[in-house]
Symmetry: C2
C-alpha cells in the first residue's frame, strides 16, 4: 500500500500509527463525515483537483450532521503539507475524515485526519452494473433530515455491502434503486444518462443522494457547449433504452455502464470522450 497519513494539528505521521481512540464516535457509531478528491502527480507537480468544491461539500456535510464548522484554513494547510510530502507519480485519492467527537466526553475533539492513497485501478473503466434497492422511496428523504440524505457520513456499511453483493454476482458495480423503481446513484458515484443531445442526472432533493462534485463540473461543461442538462428520475428500463449511461466520481472519473442487470446499454465513445474531458480526465 502506498499511503500517506496526516493528522490535523499534528501533520504527517507514520501511516501505520493509530490515529483514532476507542471512545471516538467515528469508530463507535460511524458518526462523522468525509470527502474525497482526485490527486494527480505528473511532471507539472502534484495537484488536488477541484479541492475547493470538495472542501465546500465537506463543510456542508458537517453542517447537515450538526457538527461544528470545520477549520478549512487548517485543512488547506494540512493538505498542502501532505501534498508536498507525496512522491508517488500518477493518480491518487485524497480523503478527509472528521468525526463528531468522543462518545463519553462531550466537547472533546474527535479524530480529524487525511489520507493520500495511490489509485489501484485505471480511471474511466467500463462497468457491468446491477441494480439493488435501498428499500426507500425516491422521496423518502424530503421531510426526514435524520436520515442524513446527501451527507458523506462515515456510516457506509450498506454501501460496502452492496459492492460485495456486486462482486458476488460477478459484476463491477451497483446502481441503487428506490423502492418505487427509480435509479438513484452508485455506492460511491453519481449517475448521468444521455437521451439524444440531452443529459440527465438524479435530483438531489428528496432522494437522499449525494451532490456529486464531478457531475457538477461536467454539467457546467455540457451547458457551456449548448447541451441540455437537467435533473429527473429515470427507471432502469429507461436507462437500458437510453443513448448511454455513466457513473461519475472524483477518483474513478467517468465510467461507462456497458450492461445493466445483464442487458447491454448503448455505448458511445464520442460522448464518453467528451464527458471524460469535461471531468478533467483528458480524452478517453
Amino acid at each position: 500500500m502506498r499511503q500517506l497519513v496526516a493528522v490535523l494539528g499534528t501533520g504527517v505521521v507514520d501511516a501505520s500509527d493509530a490515529v483514532v481512540t476507542a471512545d471516538d464516535l467515528g469508530i463507535n457509531r460511524g458518526d462523522g463525515v468525509f470527502d474525497a478528491a482526485r490527486v494527480v502527480s505528473d511532471a507539472a507537480g502534484v495537484r488536488v483537483e477541484l479541492l475547493e468544491p470538495h472542501l465546500a461539500r465537506f463543510a456542508r456535510s458537517h453542517q447537515k450532521m450538526g457538527m461544528a464548522e470545520p477549520d478549512l484554513a487548517a485543512w488547506r494547510a494540512l493538505i498542502e503539507e501532505a501534498v508536498a510530502a507525496w512522491d508517488v507519480p500518477g493518480e491518487a485519492i485524497l480523503k478527509l475524515i472528521a468525526t463528531r467527537g468522543l462518545e463519553h466526553e462531550p466537547g472533546a475533539p474527535g479524530a480529524s485526519f487525511l489520507t493520500l492513497t495511490a489509485a489501484d485501478t485505471a480511471p474511466c473503466p467500463p462497468l457491468r452494473v446491477i441494480t439493488l434497492t435501498t428499500g426507500r422511496a425516491s422521496d423518502a428523504f424530503a421531510d426526514a433530515p435524520w436520515l442524513l440524505g446527501g451527507v458523506k457520513s462515515l456510516s457506509y456499511a450498506v454501501n460496502v455491502a452492496m459492492a460485495r453483493e456486486a462482486k458476488r454476482r460477478g459484476v463491477d458495480d451497483v446502481l441503487f434503486t428506490s423502492s418505487d423503481g427509480y435509479c438513484l446513484e452508485g455506492p460511491r458515484s453519481g449517475l448521468l444518462v444521455r437521451f439524444g443531445d440531452a443529459f440527465v442526472t438524479t435530483p438531489v432533493a428528496g432522494t437522499g443522494i449525494l451532490d456529486s462534485v464531478t457531475i457538477g463540473v461536467v454539467a457546467e461543461g455540457l451547458r457551456s457547449r449548448g447541451l441540455a442538462f437537467s435533473e429527473r428520475l429515470v427507471t432502469p428500463a429507461e436507462l437500458i433504452a437510453s443513448d448511454g449511461g455513466w457513473l461519475l466520481s472524483a477518483g474513478r472519473g467517468v465510467a461507462e455502464i456497458v450492461a445493466l442487470n445483464g442487458s447491454p446499454l448503448a455505448t458511445d465513445a464520442e460522448a464518453s470522450a467528451l464527458l471524460c474531458e469535461l471531468a478533467g480526465f483528458g480524452t478517453a
Copy 2:
C-alpha cells in the same frame, strides 16, 4: 470519563491511546460490528450479564457482514482481563468492536478492542418518546441482505441523528416507525408492548430490527410464568391504546414509555417491576 480500553492481542491499554489506524475500514466506512453487554460491580464482584448470548450475537453480526469468524476464546480472555482490572462500582457497559480490516491492504486485520465504561444514567428511566420514520417498509429487509438488517454494524450515524432529533424536540428517545406505519425499535433498544396478559414485540424477520438479547431473556421469563409472548407488528395508535409499552436494552434495562408523540400511555408499575426483575434489574 471512567473508561477502560483493551485491545485483542495486546490487553489493557491507556484509554487515551489511539487504537485504530487511518486505513481501517471501521473508521473509513463504518464497516465493522459491535455488541454491548451490561456489567455490574458490587460486593459480590464484577460480572458481565448475559455474556454468552451477547457473544453469540456478536458472532452472528460477523457472519451476516461476511467477516471472518471472531475468535470468541480470545475475546473471553480479553474480557476476563478487562473485568479483573475494572474497579468502578455500580453499573457499566462492556462494548466489543471489531472492524472488517484495512481498506487498501486486503487480508490485513482491522481494529478489535473493547471498552468498559461506567454508566452515566440510572437504569430503567421513564421515557417520553417520539416516532421517526426509517423511510423503509416493514418488510424491506426480507430479500435485501445488503441492507444489513439485524446487524449491529458500526454504521449508526442515522441512529445517532435520530437521538439528536429527539433531544431537539425535548423528549428522551425515539421509536423508529416503518414507512407503512408500524413501530419497529428504538435506536439502541427493542420494543415490548402489553395488551392485557399478552406481551408482543416487533418481528425480527423482514423488518431489519436487531434481535434484542434483553427481550429474549424477558420473553423466556414471561413464558415460564404462563404469560403470552409473541411477535407482531403494532401501530403507534395501538401502542398508545395499549396497557403499557417499554424499550429494553442491556445497558438501560427496561424503560417504560410514558408518552408517545405527546399522547400519554397507560403506565403499569406492577408490569414494569416484573419486566425489570426478568431482565435482571431487580424489582423497580
